[in-house]
Amino acid sequence: MKEEKTLAERLRERGVTRRGFMKFCAATASMMALSPAMIPRVAAALQQAKRPSVIWLSFQECTGCTESLTRSHAPTIEGLIFDHISLDYHHTLQAAAGDHAEHARDEAMQENWGKYLLVVDGSIPLKDDGIYSTIAGITNLAMLKEVAAGAAAIISVGTCAAFGGLPMARPNPTGAVPVSEIIKDKPIVNVPGCPPIPVVISGVLAHFLMFGRLPELDALNRPKVFFGQSIHDRCYRRPFYDRGQFAETFDDEGARKGWCLFKLGCKGPITYNACATAKWNEGTSFPIEAGHGCIGCSEPGFWDKGGFYDALSKGTYGSAEGIALAAGVGAAIGVAAALGSRSRQAKADRKEEV
């Protein structure tokens, strides 16, 4: 039998006091862009949240997504949420191997059929019957279909699982596809990024813990609370863009002064993610803060869209997005995009509060 302690009980065991729990709830609500008025509801839901069974399948991937989530050093919000789930199968992290590992997966599936969460990182090769990636002699394709059949929902973590990522980049030698190309009858939430931001992964898990369902999604099945605004909308270098102050090379005066990296190929204006606000390495910074433009890693097909250092205004990156931007470099587009995305964010918030 699985342990049936609630999240609050488990936090108490770890020395988190009642005040600490309320603070955890306030931080979780803020992380998920919920109104502070929701904090009591978050507290009530997390107080009772049971431990969900999670099966994590890693296919054609680099383990960066798992590293992203597990490499925190302090008791972080994402760490505490990740610790709370019952991670019944993850062949990179679990101690068991071979038959024992596969037995653990079978057991978790049988005990929690129809209720477990399936997390997938990595794409799935289809060419030559999927022989290019196997686990315990089972192709990724067969394993995905088998485990997905009993899942309550699927979280595709990372750009490979969500959109195909690097394995699917031309010439795509293994015939790689994302999860959504194979599974059509289950709710799927995409958490793209190369790798994805840990707080976004745990935010989706927290939402499932609290409300028993997945958060509201955008047209690409990404959670709106985290992907509702572009990098450009929330970038601290945005004022330089608005004033037309750009770095032209990586070592010119503009670069040294921290001006906008748009002309150096920054894909922030067409990339939706929470990097500019959630940041990386436990809130230390994000690529633009380190002096490099956004490469658009949370958008579909980003490897094949063109040069990372080609400005969007050249119109060569991707197709429609680049051309549209080339036609309107200036503050007006940015402001309109910001207002639009904030409106979407507000709608998402309102819907969550109902």
């Binding site: 603070k23 931080a27 302090a74 004022p239 436990e282």
Partner: protein
Amino acid sequence: MSELNSIPVRVEAGPENNHRTENLKPVLLQIENALRELIEHTTETVIDLAAMPFSDQDEHDLRELLGGGEVSATIDAFGPTLVEETAFPGVWLVEHQDAERRRLTLHLEIAPIPTLLVTPRDDLADGLAALKALNDSEAPTEDVQ
């Protein structure tokens, strides 16, 4: 760290480059309405400053305008929480930090006392039980002359 600090990349400083989002005034008006609600209907309000575009410069301006009040406190629970009353009674700045003192959230609470400062009711019961156990214990007490 000296190597990192020696990299000659600095965001330009100076008044004209200080980024303001235009959200300071709406926040101040929201505080005014919330304080009125508190007085008239005892409704408490929490404003999450992370939920809107709000720059470091905005925060600096906000702190300057609100000033400091009579009360400040630190709560040590799941990392420190810094509580400061502003010069406007009932308007509090509450900053939640993690164990490594990184900010988790910054809230404005408009309330007689911030929620986290109030002792949880279950903690009162636990405290009573612990105190009763102490008093019931047979530990020797020293005579005081």
